[in-house]
C-alpha cells in the first residue's frame, strides 16, 4: 500500500507539540508559525512538581502539560478537532491507514523509546511525544517529526509499539486531525487572551507554579548537600529539562519571545516588541545558569548550590518584573 499526502510540508520545530500544531494548521490553510502555536495556546509556564518523579527527580516543567497546545488551538481557530484512542491495537493501525487513504495527514501521540530514527542516546520512555504521519510506502510510515530536521520513516511494527506504549501518559493509540477550521487568521483578541492567560499562570498564587515555582526550586537548590553525589545529578536534571527536552533553548523563553514579536505585529502594540527583547535577555539568564551548572558538573568550578540558587532567584525576580510589564502592555 503506497500513499502520500503530496501537498504536506515538513517543518523543523523546537518542540514536538507546537511543531505538530503549526504544521497541521498550516497544511489546512491556517498558516501559523511554531511560535504562534506555542504562544496562542498559552503554553509557556513554569512548574516545579516535587511529587511527580521523572527519571527519579522532580518534574520541572517550563511549559503547560501535554496536549495543552493542541487543545489551545480549538478556540482561536474555531476548530473541530477529532481525537480518537483505541483499545484494540490492530484497529488503531487500520484506522490510521484508512485516514491516510482518505488523504488526511494524521497527528499521533507516541513514546520516544520505540522510534527507530531517534538517536540511541535520546530514546527514553517518554510517552507524550507527538508527530504527523503523512503517508505510507510498503511497510514504512512516512513521518514528519517536528524535532527532526528532515522527514523520517518508521516501520509498522515499531510505530504500533510507539503508539501503544504503556505507562505514564500512555498514548493509547491516540490519533487526531482537524475536522473543521472555522477561522484561518489569528485575531488580535485571541493573541491578547492568550497572553493574559500566560500572565495569570506566571504571576499566580500557586506556590509551585510560575514565578513562585522558580523561587521554590531556587530554595530547594540552595539547600542541596554538596557531599551528596546525587546533588549534581539534580542540578543536571534541571538543566536537562530546560535545554534538552525540546525547548528551543532557555526553557521556551526564546520561543515565547518570538511569539511576542509576532503578537506585536498582529495587535499593533509596539510595546510587545520591547518586551520580546526583554524576554530574550531573560532567556540568556537561563542559559548562563545552565552554563554555570555545567561547569560545576564538570568540576571546573567548585559546586556552589548557594550561587546557583542566587541565579535562579534572579531569574524569578526578572520574570516577575517582565510579566507585570506584560500585563500592563495588554491591558
Amino acid at each position: 500500500m503506497n500513499m502520500r499526502v503530496e501537498s504536506f510540508q515538513h517543518r523543523h520545530a523546537a518542540h514536538c507539540e507546537s511543531g505538530v500544531a503549526s504544521s497541521m494548521l498550516s497544511h489546512h490553510g491556517a498558516h501559523i508559525s511554531e511560535a504562534m502555536a506555542f504562544g496562542l495556546s498559552g503554553a509557556m509556564a513554569f512548574a516545579y512538581l516535587p511529587f511527580v518523579k521523572f527519571a527519579g527527580f522532580p518534574l520541572i516543567a517550563f511549559r503547560m502539560p501535554p496536549k495543552a497546545i493542541l487543545k489551545g488551538m480549538v478556540k482561536p481557530f474555531k476548530m473541530r478537532f477529532h481525537f480518537e484512542t483505541f483499545r484494540d491495537q490492530a484497529k488503531g493501525m487500520q484506522r490510521l491507514d484508512e485516514l491516510l487513504a482518505q488523504g488526511h495527514i494524521v497527528g499521533i501521540q507516541t513514546s520516544a523509546f520505540w522510534l527507530p530514527y531517534f538517536p540511541a542516546d535520546m530514546r527514553f520512555h517518554f510517552n507524550a511525544h507527538n508527530l504527523i504521519v503523512y503517508g505510507k510506502e510498503g511497510n514504512d510510515y512516512l513521518i514528519s517529526d517536528p524535532v527532526a530536521e528532515d522527514p523520517q520513516r518508521c516501520d509498522a511494527e515499531n510505530l504500533r509499539k510507539a503508539r501503544f506504549a504503556t505507562g505514564l501518559m500512555a498514548p493509547k493509540g491516540l490519533l487526531y486531525y482537524p475536522e473543521e477550521i472555522g477561522q484561518k487568521q489569528v485575531t488580535p483578541e485571541a493573541v491578547l487572551r492568550a497572553i493574559k492567560k500566560t500572565v495569570r499562570v506566571m504571576l499566580g498564587p500557586v506556590p509551585i507554579v510560575g514565578v513562585r515555582g522558580i523561587r521554590m526550586l531556587a530554595n530547594k537548590v540552595g539547600k542541596l548537600d554538596t557531599a551528596d553525589k546525587l546533588s549534581l545529578n539534580y542540578v543536571g536534571h534541571i538543566v536537562r529539562m530546560q535545554e534538552e527536552i525540546g525547548t528551543g533553548g532557555a526553557g521556551f523563553r526564546f520561543l515565547y519571545a518570538a511569539f511576542l514579536q509576532e503578537a506585536a505585529e498582529i495587535t499593533g502594540r509596539e510595546e510587545l516588541k520591547v518586551l520580546a527583547e526583554k524576554l530574550n535577555v531573560i532567556g540568556d539568564g537561563w542559559r548562563e545558569f545552565a552554563l554555570k551548572a555545567v561547569r560545576m558538573i564538570k568540576g571546573r568550578e567548585a559546586f556552589d548550590p548557594k550561587l546557583l540558587a542566587q541565579m535562579l532567584h534572579k531569574q524569578a525576580d526578572d520574570e516577575k518584573v517582565f510579566f507585570q510589564a506584560l500585563k500592563k502592555a495588554i491591558a
Binding site: M122, V239, E277
Partner: protein, 131 residues
C-alpha cells in the same frame, strides 16, 4: 541569544541530528536556527546516561553475585526504573521486587516474562540471562 551564539560545536548524543533553536538575527528578529548542539546539552545528557549506566552495572554485579535476577539488570539497561517498570507493565512494585529474587524469577511463567520482554523491547530468551 544571537544566531552566532547558537551552539554548533556538536553533541555526540544527538547522533548527527540537529535541533531547532530560536535566536535573534541581525535585524533583531527571533528566527529558528538548526543547532548541532554543544557542551551544555551534551554534558547533562551524558550525565543522565551515566546515572543509568551506574545502576545497570550495579545490578549486573548483584546478578553475578546471585542476589538479584537478570530482570533488574534489564530494567536499567532498557532505561527504566522500578516505578516506571511498574507503570508500563501494570505490576505492583512489590511484585516486581519479588521477581528480582533469583529463585522466584526462575519459576516465572513465560506469559509474565513475555510481558516484561515486550515493554523492554527484548526477547524472553534475552531476559533470562545477562548479555
Amino acid at each position: 541569544m544571537d544566531i552566532n551564539e547558537v551552539p554548533q560545536e556538536g553533541n555526540r548524543t544527538m547522533g548527527g541530528h540537529k535541533r531547532a533553536m530560536y535566536a535573534r538575527d541581525k535585524d533583531g528578529r527571533i528566527v529558528i536556527v538548526a543547532s548541532a548542539g554543544g557542551e551544555v546539552d551534551e554534558t547533562v545528557t551524558l550525565q543522565a546516561l551515566e546515572f543509568i549506566r551506574e545502576h545497570t552495572e550495579a545490578a549486573r554485579s548483584r546478578v553475578e553475585a546471585g542476589i538479584s535476577s537478570p530482570l533488574e539488570y534489564w530494567m536499567y539497561a532498557q532505561r527504566l526504573d522500578l516505578p516506571q517498570l511498574s507503570q508500563v507493565t501494570g505490576f505492583w512494585q512489590w511484585r516486581i521486587r519479588r521477581h528480582f529474587k533469583p529463585q522466584r524469577f526462575a519459576k516465572l511463567s513465560t506469559d509474565i516474562l513475555q510481558r516484561y520482554a515486550d515493554v523492554m523491547g527484548i526477547t524472553v530468551e534475552q531476559i533470562k540471562t545477562l548479555p
